[in-house]
Amino acid sequence: MKRHITIALLVPVCFLWAGTLSAQTSKQDSLGQKKSAAAGTAKKDTTKKAPVKTWFDKYVKIGQSTATSEQQSLPARFNITFPDHKGASYLVDIGVSIQDMPKVVNGLLSFIGEYHRNTLTDSVQNNLQLGIGFHKILFHFDGGNSTLFLIADPQYSWDGVAKKNSVQSNVLLTPHWRPGKFHLGTPIQANDTSHTMLFSLFAGSQLQNVFPSDTTALHGFKLRVLSTGMASYSFNRHHDFENPLITIFASYSIRSAVINRVGDGEKWTHLLNTGINYVIAAKPLKISIGGSFVEGSDYFSGMKAQQYFLVSLNVLK
């Protein structure tokens, strides 16, 4: 019988004390806030020093991917397994966005980098993406309470499995729609802040031009149309909406390669990503352990059709 040491299950134990500390601190903060709110005054606190924010604090965001706020809201995932008499298998699923960009256009620019490496499943993934993220308000509606955004992320992508390079970009639209108590794109807070829900919707296209790294690799242009829906539900610690305890999430993307000159047979594809995360530390990074079920493919990030259940250590900032 094979013995496995799975770091994703062991490492979080090291963070449990941090989680306990975080919970205690949060409880104190929460109580402090309630007390002040009850008094109805915003008092200046001259005894505490304001938090000092480093470059990392200010400009770096970490999630599972960087293109959309839905992907940014899902944590980066890590898992490593050391089987007896075999090499290690691991998963790295991370997207990093760096905001430190000059203001040159009417919108937000950021450097983006993603790395997706999975040797845990039969369909190996090894994909690096580097580019620029661009977010812009297109227009407002509903008397100004709702907004439609444009998101684009032109980038270079290297696929270490298929041995190919791509220049590619998402071009997506997403609404922040607030017609009443239901919101799309921004959270919905319970009156007592005991739980938080988030629903979001993205639609648009993916452009990808694949360049071969050798003469045998497939190459050509692809245009996909796609739509992604995401829902999450968080139970908050001590009624603190900044401090989730458990988050349940589901995300579903459906795409169609309406132009495919690569000749790899890609037509309709989908990706289901669902799971549950237990947050063990919320500040300064959200560290969680979680189980997720993934079914489908994402050729944009070099993930072939597959299905797996994963327990992982997650990091979100």
Binding site: G32, Q33, K35, S36, A37, G40, T41, A42, K43, K44, D45, K48, A50, P51, V52, K53, D57, K58, Y59, S69, Q72, S73, S97, Q99, M101, K103, G107, L108, L109, S110, G133, H135, K136, I137, G143, G144, N145, T147, F149, I151, T174, H176, R178, G180, K181, H183, G185, T186, P187, I188, Q189, T196, F241, E242, A282, K283, P284, K286, L316, K317
Partner: protein, 100 residues
């Protein structure tokens, strides 16, 4: 029914600090935000709110409505500057500096 955020940001019966707090809490999903719930803006870190880039674009627009109401023609804040603010107090100071 919740507030109309644009009207509230232009409401001069509210202090600039309260309007900034309302914009932040509204973005976090509160339909009728209570600015008093951010009791200690100096020690309330913006990073803890987990705002997305889209959120920051909207927050900046809402801050700029207040700036334009208080001092028409003043230089507006830009999105990247607002995203780099460390605390809620930095946001309040940023808006106050723009209308000086």
């Amino acid at each position: 029914m919740g507030i109309n955020i644009r009207k509230v940001m232009a409401d001069q019966t509210k202090t600039v600090g309260d309007r900034v707090k309302i914009a932040i809490l509204w973005q976090k999903g509160f339909d009728n935000p209570n600015p008093g719930s951010i009791a200690d803006p100096k020690n309330t870190n913006m990073a803890d709110y987990d705002f997305s880039h889209e959120d920051y674009l909207e927050i900046t627009e809402h801050f700029n409505i207040t700036i334009d109401t208080e001092k028409p023609g003043a230089n507006p804040l830009n999105d990247a500057d607002v995203e780099a603010f460390t605390t809620v107090q930095d946001c309040i100071d940023g808006v106050n500096d723009a209308i000086k």
